[in-house]
Amino acid sequence: MRGKTFPVGGIHPPHFKEATEKKNVKPAQIPAKVVLPLQQHIGAPCEPLVAVGDTVKVGQKIADSKGFVSAPIHASISGKVVAIEPRPHPNGTNVMSIVIEGDGENNIWEGVKPYGNYKELSPDELRKIFREAGLVGLGGATFPTHVKITPPEGKKVETVILNGAECEPYLTADHRLMVEHPEDVVEGLRILMHVLGVEKGYIGVENNKEDAIEALKNVVGDDTSIEVVSCEVKYPQGAEKQLIKTILDREVPSGGLPLDVGVVVNNVGTAATAANILKTGMPLIERIVTITGSGVKDPQNLMVRLGTMFSDVIDQCGGFEGKPGKIIMGGPMMGLAQHNVDIPVIKGTSGILVFNAKEAKKYAPTTCIRCARCVDACPMSLMPATIANYALKDLIDVSEEYDALDCIECGCCSYVCPAKLPLVHAIRYAKAEIAARRRK
């Protein structure tokens, strides 16, 4: 079946979703220990509000920042703070983290109370609630939600789009959420529309998830303000700019934001969590994670408390199948390869993907044969071979003229390259260099 899609570029990698797409989300065990990094979002890192030795309860705010672009951190288990020190973070560095040892009781903090119906709350009250709840974009970008739904003076928002494309191969967390809790997703969308005062909302879903589309349509019923859009299965259908182009045929200007075309895009998981926050008052302390890949014995979708170690989560999926060769946080196209499994699940962990030693390949790059596959695959209409070539020659100015900064790092170019050139890697380097030069 054909659905709507964006007009240029894109690729069709195998889905690899079979292992988990039909498995209900199960609650993971409550871990005996959590490590909560003070930076799990884009923006200013938090400062701890607790000290070593303090006891904390589930949902209690334990770190916050004065910055507007930031999101507080909450205890995801009850117990005692045993350390506040730098710990390995999925981003590859050591980040100041609060370590809590659990008391096995799951005591809920007294401040956790339902907020009630969104219709009785003003947009500003809701923004404050979501900020206090530490809500960020759960698709992986982790941009603080309250900032996203606070359009600057003079910018008019007309549309809210929920991203349920889940175009990354392997991942099924959003898929399961939409199938199992479509009412939360739709409620979340209504809340976001209410906050932004818009009349029209869309949910974009790739049409390899027919059951999710059905479920959402059932909940929406005859509410004409919300439309469930069936999108073609094409990576990167869920990239913000491509999704807006698909649904509204609007192009976010180069260097601009969806706001510039009157749109706010949120992940379906973020919306559902927003709805739950109002319902229960519980801030963001857990998320759905897809644990899958050839290196996992029993792939699962689990509801995992933030701060749970990757090793714990993998153990609950039967442990490793064979020798692990590569461990990735997120999907195979844009995820981050990890050095080990002693790192915590954070707000942006949509998946834990394990390749066994056989599947984890190192690709030996040869030379560019100018086959133009990368050009044809680029959803931003860039010339990846050319940009990468100039970047490697350190002709950063030229790579900038070829619009290196417009690259969304989707990985399509590297994926299709028959010479197995690390194009995105080279383009990232160019982008970093350009940014560094601008700061000077």
């Binding site: 601009g256 196209m333 390869a337 080990n340 040869t366 959803p379 010339m383 690390p422």
Partner: protein
């Protein structure tokens, strides 16, 4: 937990199954129908010439890389492709020293000196052919008919004597000419395979053949004859679509095809040679970097196309 030997590399972590080797292999497959046609029409000597040229190309590549102290990459298959394409440009009567000289020229001078696969500005087979035609004009144009009688090519007949060849003979390749260029049918089958496999962009052959057809009409020539004769099919489907030496942008590839078409017709009509395919492609090869530069696609989210 201590895990050894985890690979930590940057995304993406999966890659398509396409490899350079696979692409070259596919091009070889696509050339097989034309090879069979040449054996049918010109006999086993055609096969001998092709094998000889391929062997020379592979050997030249290996020796050259050895001497230059570079990794030997003959397994990528590109020398085989060059060898077949070059052989297809020889008349069936060609003396055997010409394929040897030609293979060395194509690989050493036209390819390795520029840095090897991916770096050569000109199609190696065509560059070598141009040199050979200039050096041994008689041997490179000593045509015979499939029955062995000496003959001129249909283009030569038309240009010099005004004699037309029947379309059917032109289409299946029952005519005088170079080994691989005569059977339009066989070449089209191969070209269709490459299109299907996504190894060539329709814009080049369609732009090329379309332009030739339109221009021949304008200059009141017979377009069907123009399309089927000479090296046009071989050139438009296999030489002008050579990835390394043609533009990487979509608009650029269309421009490239149209440019080849214009030059070909101009040479055929006004030039000293009856044929114009190789020179037009070589000329457009030279313009490829420029074409790429001025046909940069419009970046998503930018209003105007800014040329870099």
């Amino acid at each position: 937990m201590q895990l050894e030997k985890l690979i930590v590399s940057s995304s993406p972590h999966i890659r398509s199954g396409e490899t350079v080797q696979r692409i070259m292999f596919d091009v070889v497959i696509a050339l097989i129908p034309a090879l069979i046609a040449s054996i049918i029409f010109f006999g086993l000597r055609a096969l001998l010439i092709v094998i000889l040229t391929v062997v020379v190309c592979i050997a030249a590549e290996a020796i050259c890389q050895k001497v230059l102290n570079k990794p030997i990459t003959i397994s990528d298959g590109s020398a085989i492709v060059t060898g077949i394409l070059l052989a297809f440009n020889f008349p069936p009567t060609v003396p055997l020293y010409i394929p040897i000289v030609g293979g060395v020229l194509a690989i050493v001078v036209a390819k390795q000196i520029f840095g090897g696969l991916g770096h050569n500005p000109f199609n190696p087979a065509l560059a070598a052919r141009a040199f050979l035609v200039a050096s041994w004009p008689a041997q490179m144009t000593n045509w015979i008919n499939p029955d062995g009688s000496s003959a001129a090519t249909p283009l030569g007949l038309m240009k010099l004597e005004g004699i037309a060849t029947p379309y059917w003979d032109l289409f299946i390749g029952n005519i005088g000419g170079c080994l691989g260029e005569t059977s339009a049918l066989a070449l089209l089958i191969g070209g269709a395979y490459l299109l299907y496999r996504g190894h060539i962009d329709w814009r080049i052959p369609v732009g090329y053949l379309g332009t030739v057809a339109v221009l021949s009409l304008i200059f009141s020539q017979d377009p069907l004859f123009y399309l089927l004769s000479g090296g046009l099919m071989l050139g438009a489907l296999f030489m002008a679509t050579d990835m390394v030496t043609t533009p990487i942008t979509k608009r650029g590839r269309l421009v490239f095809g149209i440019g080849c078409g214009i030059i070909t017709v101009l040479i055929r009509l006004f030039g000293g040679y009856p044929e114009g395919v190789s020179y037009s492609i070589l000329l457009m090869n030279a313009l490829t970097p420029l074409i790429d530069r001025y046909t940069k696609p419009r970046t998503f989210g930018k209003k105007v196309i800014k040329n870099a």
